[in-house]
């Protein structure tokens, strides 16, 4: 079986379609304020929104494809590295356990999607999650996948769980709560292994944390997750603490997410203005 599997070769059936990060970011349409001066408004997922259920369905589908990719990523980490100093057997056992958890999450997400009236492949799949799991250094994978990505999963599951509770959906709230507990464990495993494997190698640790920041920022793309109400998903501070993040690390993710939101507002405004200018030139 081949090692270091490229993202474009991931196996999917005809129901799935993919979009690259570039395609998503180059959509000139915007749901956000068009300039830093415009008043901010709440975009947080809540049952009070008229589009709440369709937004929750779309997010649930995003969780489903995320779980598929997380399963693929954890499985690859068990296989891609030779057992030894870089990837001790105990680390691989943790990754195997995570793959088992993710497989269960895929099944749960499928059933939740069905419950909410969503078909598999109804929405575009963004494969950026698996891309973060393609590093050739297992420590970078732990930082990028377990700390950044699974950290985002904590934020997303907390938002979905709260939505389920407010809406009175007994299955959604229950399932998200159980999956959330697994995600906290996955992040904790990442934090513990990252510290253990880089104990005597500060340079490697710094490199891993830098990679985590890059992935964190990437996953906050468009300002989807931040502590601002303008973001669709909030930052789950308490669960991050349980997962082994220090208060300083959580502050760092919060600041980075807010930067990402502000950058997205600026980028969208520029893209929007360029499209309007091009349109005006066409008219004249």
């Amino acid at each position: 079986m081949r090692r270091f599997f490229p993202v474009q070769d991931l196996a999917r059936d005809v129901r799935f379609t993919r979009a690259s990060m570039a395609e998503l970011q180059n959509d000139p349409r915007s749901t956000r304020r068009r300039s830093a001066d415009a008043p901010a408004r709440s975009n947080r997922l809540s049952p009070a929104r008229p589009d709440a259920t369709d937004s929750a369905r779309r997010l649930m589908h995003g969780i489903f494809v995320g779980e598929v990719q997380a399963l693929e990523g954890a499985g690859r980490t068990c296989w891609d590295f030779t057992t030894g100093d870089d990837a001790p057997l105990a680390l691989k056992l943790d990754m195997a356990r995570q793959a088992w958890d993710e497989a269960r999450h895929v099944e749960i997400s499928c059933k939740l999607g069905e419950w909410m009236g969503t078909e598999i492949g109804e929405y575009i799949e963004n494969t950026v999650l698996f891309e973060a799991a393609c590093s050739s250094d297992p420590v970078l994978r732990l930082a990028g996948v377990n700390r950044a990505l699974e950290g985002l999963a904590i934020d997303v599951f907390t938002t979905m769980k709260e939505f389920g509770e407010l809406a009175g959906d007994p299955y959604l709230a229950f399932c998200e709560d159980w999956m959330l507990a697994d995600e906290v464990t996955h992040v904790k495993m990442g934090s513990d292994w990252l510290r253990r494997l880089t104990e005597n190698d500060p340079e490697r640790r710094a490199q891993a944390l830098e990679f985590q920041s890059v992935v964190d920022k990437l996953f906050s793309y468009g300002g989807t997750r931040s502590e601002s109400n303008e973001s669709f998903v909030g930052l789950a501070r308490r669960f991050r603490e349980l997962a082994g993040f220090t208060p300083e690390e959580i502050d760092e993710v919060a600041a980075l997410s807010l930067d990402s939101l502000n950058e997205a507002v600026a980028n969208r405004a520029a893209l929007h203005a360029r499209t309007v200018d091009a349109l005006a030139e066409d008219v004249h």
Partner: protein
């Protein structure tokens, strides 16, 4: 019958203008509204999916591009979504003009539970006309607005399966469920 879709050329999305016009024309014929003029104004600058009736003579509808978008292919049109969204709004116009909905609140005064109930009633009818319909999705919408209960499911069933309800009958049906927020 004249169907006008604006803008005539899209810049933020890659919608097929002729396709949108064709779907609405076909819909008007099938709903028995072929004599009506319809204008659909698409706001292509936002990917959100809101839609509303702005006027009835001629029928004027405002939609955000996400309402007509294909969720599998970014920024492209999905004819089924044009039919579903426009179909629901046209049925609401037809219902109001039938006299059986004279006691219904104005669109702006409809609560979310009332609006979702009316949309369920419309979707059931569109589904029986042969338009593809995601029944489970609408059941989930309904449960979110009327409760995750057997009573709410029974109310949904009646709205979805019936063809000739009045507003007072819809109100009676939804009163049997437990409305949520």
């Amino acid at each position: 019958m004249a169907v006008t879709v604006t803008p005539s050329e899209f810049h933020f999305v890659k919608f097929d203008h002729a396709d949108a016009v064709r779907v609405v024309e076909e819909l008007l014929g099938r709903l028995g509204m072929a004599a009506r003029d319809v204008t659909i104004n698409i706001d292509e600058t936002t990917p959100l999916g809101r839609s509303e009736i702005k006027g009835t003579d001629p029928i004027t509808i405002a939609v955000e591009s996400g309402a007509f978008e294909n969720p599998k292919v970014l920024r492209t049109l999905l004819a089924d979504n044009v039919a579903n969204v426009t179909g629901r709004l046209l049925l609401r116009v037809r219902d109001r003009e039938s006299g059986a909905f004279d006691d219904a609140p104005a669109d702006s005064a409809l609560t979310l539970p009332q609006l979702v109930a009316w949309e369920v009633y419309s979707n059931g009818r569109l589904g029986r006309m042969g338009y593809p319909m995601q029944r489970q999705r609408w059941l989930y919408h309904f449960r979110n607005r009327h409760g995750f209960t057997d009573a709410a499911d029974a109310a949904f069933e009646r709205l979805w399966e019936t063809d000739d309800l009045s507003w007072s009958e819809i109100s009676t049906i939804i009163a049997t469920a437990a409305p949520v927020g």
